[in-house]
């Protein structure tokens, strides 16, 4: 079973003549260890897809399950707990808390989940080390570069063994070198067993994914075929 499953998800806003269908019978399954990118223009429904997958919003119809648990069977508290323990979010504008240092930003979700402050700090520091940010642990967000801020945000999203990463234009504000390192980190997290969904309009970003889904007017209209091995591909290129 896939870690994240969306079945027949529709989402309507407004009603009557002003009704807007943001998502229309979307099916999506993301396995542990795989990175799926969702591409679409603005207004295609990709951010709505992410908020529904992350239980931040309920679908009008359809079913979401995360780690085998159906969201519709969970209470509000149950969903909040699932979000704290299993899901990490990464946004374009990093969403770091300005008054907290890097390590405090990363340890915060653990503390909110009841982990003792001291232990949370240790785990957060390890996570920052994994992301090459140990020397930035005590820096505040405004003392970090854009690329570093986003790396802290990713460290925060995956700290404590979260299994689902949801990212909305994670490198939108970064130059291409920093964007690449952000995608490398997300991919490395996937290789450690995380399931990840990245929504973006940027093909360079999407091309890091195992599978790319194309969304148009709230519907999945297409998806990419599996990639061949780098060796096979390079041999083909050389033979052209």
């Amino acid at each position: 079973m896939s870690y994240l499953e969306l079945r027949g998800i529709s989402k309507m806003y407004g009603d009557g003549a002003t009704e807007v269908r943001a998502l229309d019978r979307v099916d999506l399954a993301v396995d542990a260890g795989s990175l799926v990118a969702v591409m679409g223009s603005s207004g295609s429904g990709k951010s709505t897809l992410l908020t529904i997958a992350g239980s931040l919003e309920d679908p009008t119809s359809g079913e979401v399950s995360i780690g085998g648990r159906s969201l519709s069977s969970l209470s509000r508290n149950g969903k909040a707990q699932l979000r704290r323990q299993s899901i990490g979010y990464v946004f374009q504008d990093y969403n770091l808390l300005a008054g907290l240092s890097a390590v405090e930003n990363v340890s915060l979700p653990l503390e909110l989940d009841g982990v003792a402050a001291r232990k949370a700090q240790v785990v957060a520091l390890e996570s920052l080390e994994d992301f090459g940010l140990a020397d930035r642990a005590s820096h505040y967000p405004d003392q970090l570069s854009g690329g570093e801020r986003q790396r802290v945000a990713i460290a925060r999203a995956v700290v404590g063994g979260r299994q689902l990463l949801l990212a909305d234009e994670p490198s939108g504000a970064l130059d291409s070198t920093n964007a690449e390192s952000v995608m490398r980190l997300i991919l490395a997290a996937c290789h450690r067993g995380l399931a990840a969904v990245v929504v973006t309009h940027d093909a360079q970003l999407a091309s890091w994914a195992d599978r790319v889904i194309f969304l148009r007017d709230g519907r999945i209209v297409d998806q990419t075929l599996p990639v061949v091995s780098p060796e096979t591909f390079l041999a083909d290129v050389r033979n052209q």
Partner: protein
């Protein structure tokens, strides 16, 4: 691509044999553009004819024959490096032409045509990105070749995305726009009586 100038560049580092030139050309271009030996020797012969390179020993032919760059060759190389490639007029891009042709064809959904090409380009980009994944294999030259290809494909996808948006907007405007006056059934001759 100018094999001629690439060989001149390699020779500007010092005298080299034909086989060595081929090997170095391939490794410097990330092994993406294979070069056959025949092509190397034909190019060297032309360079020699034009006075841009000289062979070390006229009597010895084959793989052991060494070449070095001449002063004229060095000048030619320096000029070539600083001469921008000709981007002055748009290339006859097959993708652009296909989309333009699709626009005028009855029964063809242009959005579907656009999506088909978009998906293919994204798949290609995924393949090139895979080559970057293993950083230990990624030497500087190869990384630059891969980046160039990714940016080229990306620019095509951006064009498709923009085309898609423009078409959607144009279709919306066509629905909202006032209906044009009905065309006359037959064209009246200028000056003909009412």
């Amino acid at each position: 691509m100018s094999v001629r100038h690439a060989l001149l560049a390699l020779l500007s580092e010092g005298p080299k044999y034909g086989l060595q030139l081929r090997q170095e050309f391939e490794s410097r271009t990330g092994e993406v553009w294979p070069l056959n030996v025949g092509q190397v020797y034909t190019t060297l012969q032309r360079l020699e004819r034009d006075g841009l390179v000289e062979s070390d020993d006229v009597s010895e032919e084959g793989p052991q024959k060494g070449f070095h760059i001449t002063e004229e060759g060095a000048v030619e190389l320096a000029q070539w490096l600083r001469t921008p490639p000709d981007f002055s007029s748009p290339p006859r891009d097959e993708l652009v032409i296909k989309v333009l042709v699709a626009l005028g064809l009855p029964g063809v959904d242009v959005h579907e045509v656009v999506q088909l090409h978009r998906r293919y380009l994204v798949e290609l980009m995924q393949q090139w990105t895979r080559l970057k994944e293993d950083e230990s294999r990624l030497d500087l030259n190869f990384a630059l070749v891969v980046d160039a290809e990714l940016f080229r494909l990306d620019s095509l996808i951006r064009w498709l995305d923009t085309a898609d948006g423009r078409l959607k907007r144009a279709a919306g405007e066509a629905v909202l726009a006032p209906q044009p006056f009905p065309l006359p059934k037959a064209r009246r001759r200028v000056g003909a009586p009412e």
